[in-house]
C-alpha cells in the first residue's frame, strides 16, 4: 500500500456494512493540493444501504484523486493518494514478509541428511543411496521430487561412472522434471535403474513418446476395457472401391482406399447408436452430439490421432479427401494442436500394417475405438450351403465398460457390418 519513494499512501474504500462489496463516490469535499487532517472528511460515499462521509485515515496533502464523482469502486480499492508529512515515518508492517524468506540462504542449518517419510519410502522402493541425491529444498534437504528426478535420470547416466552430480546438471534435471507435470507418478517409478545390463541400449524418451505413454497409461488405468470382434464380407465394398479408384485419382488427384468406405459405415452406425459417441464423467455419461472421429495415423516411431470433424456430415469422397490431407500432413509433421483435439470416437485402420485382430486401447476420454483389420480372400459359407471366395475383414471394438455393455455394442457392430455389406456398384460416393 505504501510507496516508499514518493511517500504516497492510498486511501481505500472501507468496509461499510455487511455484504456490501462496492460504493459510489458521491462528492469530493477536498481537491488535489488540499492539506487534510486525520479524520477530516474527504468525500461522501453512497451505497445501497448507507450514505456516509469518508474521513481521512491519515494526515497529509491530497495528491491525486483516483475515483471521480459518480464512479463506483470495490471495497478495498484506492480512491485517492495522500502524501504524508516528512516527519511521519511510513509504517510498513506487512505481515506477509516472512523471516524465512528473507533469511533464505543465510544461517541455514544443513538438512541434507534429514529425510522425510516419503523420501525414505521411495529410496527403499528404488534401492537408492540417498547420499548420492542432491537435495533442492531448504538446507539442502532431499525432497520427494528430488528422488523421483534421480530415479528418472538414473536411466540416462553412464553405468561406468557412479552418479556424481554437478550442481548445474542436477538443476537442469530438476527443472525439466518439474515441467513434466502431466506424467502420473506411478509411471515414473515403473522401472528401477538397476534392471539394465551393461550392453543394453538406452533410447531416450521423446516428448511424443512420453505423451503417448501418459495417454495410454491413463486409458488403461482409468477405463475398464472390454472387447468385441466381428467379421464382415467386404467383397462389394472392394468392388465399389475398384470401380472408382482410377476415376477418383484422375478427378481428385488422390488414391481412393477402402478406409473412407469403412469410416462412413462406422459413422452411420454411430448415428444409430449415439451412446458409442460418449464420455464418462463422475456422475454422468455425456453423450456427444457432434461426431468427430479421431483417425489413428502411425509412423515408425509413433502414432497420432488427428480428427475429422462432423464426420457424419461428409460423403465418402469428402472423407477420402480429408483423410488424404491428414495423412499427408501427419507424415510431414504439419498437424497442429487443433487438428488433434475434440475427437469423440477413434478409428484405426490396423489392416494397413497387416493385422488380423487387435485389442486397441481407447483414446481417452472417449468411450470406444474401432479397428478395421486386413482384408483376406478366403472361402466362406454363403447362403444355401455354398462355399465361395469372399473378401473378409475383421472389425475389433474396444469399449469403456463403465458406459457400454456387450449387448448395445453387439447391436452397433452388427449395424456396422450391415452398412459394410450393403455397398454395391450403385452406391453414390459423392
Amino acid at each position: 500500500m505504501h510507496n516508499e519513494e514518493e511517500r504516497l499512501s492510498e486511501v481505500t474504500i472501507p468496509h461499510l456494512a455487511e455484504s456490501l462489496v462496492s460504493a459510489t463516490l458521491g462528492r469530493w469535499l477536498k481537491e488535489p493540493g488540499d492539506y487534510v487532517k486525520e479524520y477530516e472528511v474527504l468525500c461522501e460515499l453512497n451505497t445501497d444501504k448507507v450514505n456516509v462521509e469518508m474521513p481521512s485515515p491519515m494526515e497529509g496533502t491530497l495528491i491525486r484523486i483516483l475515483v471521480q464523482e459518480g464512479e463506483t469502486a470495490d471495497v478495498g480499492a484506492p480512491i485517492c493518494l495522500i502524501r504524508e508529512p516528512e516527519a511521519q515515518t511510513p509504517i510498513v508492517s506487512d505481515p506477509s514478509k516472512s523471516i524465512v524468506t528473507e533469511g533464505r540462504y543465510r544461517d541455514e542449518p544443513d538438512l541434507s541428511t534429514r529425510y522425510s517419510p516419503a523420501v525414505m519410502r521411495l529410496a527403499e522402493e528404488h534401492r537408492i543411496d540417498l547420499r548420492k541425491v542432491k537435495g533442492t529444498s531448504l538446507g539442502g534437504r532431499i525432497n520427494r521430487k528430488d528422488v523421483l528426478a534421480y530415479v528418472r535420470d538414473g536411466m540416462n547416466i553412464q553405468p561406468a561412472t557412479p552418479p556424481e552430480y554437478s550442481a548445474g546438471k542436477n538443476e537442469v534435471i530438476a527443472a525439466g522434471f518439474t515441467k513434466a507435470t502431466s506424467v502420473p507418478a506411478a509411471q515414473e517409478r515403473k522401472e528401477p535403474a538397476s534392471s539394465r545390463g551393461p550392453d543394453d541400449q538406452l533410447l531416450p524418451v521423446t516428448p511424443v513418446r512420453k505423451l503417448i505413454a501418459t495417454r495410454m497409461h491413463q486409458s488403461v488405468s482409468e477405463i475398464p476395457h472390454a472387447w468385441l470382434t466381428i467379421e464382415a464380407d467386404v467383397s462389394h465394398l472392394v468392388d465399389l472401391q475398384q470401380k472408382w479408384k482410377d476415376r477418383f485419382a484422375e478427378k481428385e488427384g488422390i488414391r481412393l482406399t477402402v478406409t473412407p468406405f469403412v469410416l462412413k459405415a462406422v459413422v452411420n452406425a454411430i448415428k444409430d447408436y449415439p451412446i458409442l459417441n460418449s464420455t464418462w464423467s463422475t456422475d454422468n455419461i455425456i453423450i456427444k452430439k457432434e461426431i468427430h472421429v479421431s483417425i489413428a495415423i502411425g509412423s515408425e516411431e509413433s502414432v497420432v490421432t488427428p480428427v475429422i470433424r462432423n464426420a457424419d456430415r461428409k460423403t465418402i469422397a469428402g472423407l477420402a479427401i480429408e483423410l488424404d490431407d491428414l495423412v499427408k500432413r501427419a507424415r510431414s509433421g504439419k498437424l497442429t494442436i487443433s487438428d488433434m483435439q475434440g475427437g469423440t470416437f477413434t478409428f484405426n485402420n490396423t489392416g494397413a500394417f497387416g493385422s488380423l485382430q487387435s485389442f486397441p486401447l481407447i483414446n481417452y476420454p472417449q468411450a470406444a475405438i474401432i479397428t478395421f483389420e486386413t482384408i483376406v480372400r478366403k472361402p466362406v459359407v454363403i447362403q444355401r450351403d455354398m462355399i465361395a471366395i469372399r473378401s473378409m475383414a475383421n472389425l475389433c471394438l474396444s469399449l469403456d465398460h463403465r458406459i457400454l455393455d456387450g449387448v448395445v455394442c453387439g447391436h452397433f457392430m452388427r449395424r456396422v457390418k450391415q452398412y459394410l455389406e450393403r455397398y454395391d456398384q450403385e452406391t453414390v460416393i459423392y
Partner: protein, 326 residues
C-alpha cells in the same frame, strides 16, 4: 444455466425445494421480510407467511420448533441470523437433533437443515464474524457442509433438505455477493461427503473450505508464476470428511497445508492433520502445516486487529511458498 451469486443460489435452492415438497418451509428471525442478509428475499410473497415463518429472537426455539416439525414429517430449514448467535441453540442441536435417530433405535429421524451464515466480511467485529464450525464438528449424528461456490451452495442445500439427518449448512457471508458462477436451472444435488479438486498441482496441496478456497486459488495462481504448482482440495463437506479425497490429495504432493478461518486449535485442520498422520505418514515429504487465525477469542472490531486475525491472499501465499521450499 445462469450465473448466480452464492446468495442467489442459496435462495434458489430453498425456493425450488419448497416448490417441490410441501413439507419444506423456512423459519428464522426476520426471514419474512427477507432476512437481514437477504437470503429469503421475496420468498414470503411467493410461499406465504406460514411457510416463511418469522420467529422470536430465540435460537433455541428456532431449532426446537424445527425439530418438532421434523418429527411430524416436515422438512424445515431453520435460519440462524448470524453464526455468532447459534450457541443458545447448541443444546437443541447437539443433544436433541443429533441424537434422535440413535436414541430411538432408528425409529425416528430428524431431517432438518440449519443455515448458519458464518465468517468475517470485514467490519463485523466480535458478534458478526465468528466461525463456530469446530464447536459442532465431531458430533456424531450431525452432518456439516460448507460450500464455496454458487453451484455447490445450491446443490448442497438441496442435498441437505433431502437428507434424512440434521445438516448444519455453513454459508460464508463473504461469498454471498463476492462469489458467483454457473448454476444450472434444472434440478441437481451435490452429494454430501464429497470433496472436490479445485486445481491440479504437484508441489504442495492446500486443503480448504468456504472463503479460504478462493484465497488458496488466488494464491496458487500467483505462485504458479514462481514455478510452484499447487493442488487445491475444497472439502465442501466437513462432517463426515471425505477421507479418500484427502488421501488422494495428500499422496499427490506429500506436502499439506490446511487453511481455514476458524481458530487453529481444535479446528477442522487438526482432525485432517491427524487423519493424514494416521494413514499416510509414508507419503509425507514435509510436516503437515495449518494456516489459521491465532487463538484469539474473535475477529477484532479495529481494522488493524481484523487484518492481523484473518488469512488473506498475501499471508496465505507466503505460507504456501514456505511449505514448497521446506
Amino acid at each position: 444455466m445462469a450465473i448466480l451469486t452464492y446468495l442467489e443460489a442459496i435462495r434458489a435452492g430453498m425456493s425450488e425445494e419448497m416448490q417441490r415438497d410441501e413439507g419444506v418451509f423456512v423459519l428464522g428471525e426476520d426471514v419474512g421480510k427477507g432476512g437481514v442478509l437477504n437470503a429469503t428475499k421475496g420468498m414470503r410473497d411467493r410461499f406465504g407467511e406460514r411457510r416463511v415463518l418469522d420467529t422470536p429472537l430465540s435460537e433455541s426455539a428456532i431449532v426446537g420448533v424445527a425439530i418438532g416439525a421434523a418429527m411430524v414429517g416436515m422438512r424445515p430449514i431453520a435460519e440462524i441470523q448470524f453464526a455468532d448467535f447459534i450457541f443458545p441453540a447448541t443444546n437443541q442441536i447437539i443433544s436433541e437433533a443429533a441424537k434422535i435417530r440413535y436414541r430411538s433405535n432408528n425409529d425416528w429421524f430428524c431431517p432438518i437443515v440449519i443455515r448458519v451464515p458464518y465468517g468475517a466480511t470485514g467490519g463485523g467485529g466480535l458478534y458478526h464474524s465468528q466461525c463456530p464450525e469446530s464447536v459442532f464438528f465431531g458430533t456424531p449424528g450431525l452432518k456439516i457442509v460448507a460450500p464455496s461456490t454458487a453451484y455447490d451452495a445450491k446443490g448442497l442445500l438441496k442435498a441437505s433438505v433431502r437428507d434424512d439427518d440434521p445438516v448444519l449448512y455453513f454459508e460464508h457471508k463473504k461469498c454471498y455477493l463476492y462469489i458467483s458462477d454457473d448454476v444450472p436451472d434444472e434440478d441437481y444435488t451435490v452429494p454430501i461427503g464429497k470433496a472436490a479438486v479445485k486445481r491440479e498441482g504437484d508441489d504442495i496441496t492446500v486443503i480448504a473450505y468456504g472463503m479460504a478456497v478462493h484465497l488458496a486459488l488466488k494464491a496458487a495462481e500467483q505462485l504458479e508464476k514462481e514455478g510452484i504448482s499447487v493442488h487445491v482440495l475444497d472439502l465442501r463437506t466437513l462432517h463426515p470428511l471425505d477421507q479418500s479425497a484427502i488421501f488422494e490429495a495428500t499422496a499427490k504432493t506429500g506436502r499439506i497445508l490446511i487453511v481455514h478461518e476458524d481458530n487453529k486449535t481444535g479446528g477442522i485442520g487438526a482432525e485432517i492433520a491427524a487423519i493424514i498422520a494416521e494413514h499416510l505418514l509414508y507419503q509425507l515429504d514435509a510436516p503437515i502445516l495449518r494456516f489459521c487465525p491465532p487463538d484469539v477469542p474473535a475477529v477484532g472490531m479495529a481494522p488493524t486487529l481484523e487484518k492481523f486475525f484473518l488469512p488473506n491472499v498475501d499471508t496465505l501465499k507466503e505460507a504456501m511458498r514456505r511449505l514448497a521450499e521446506m
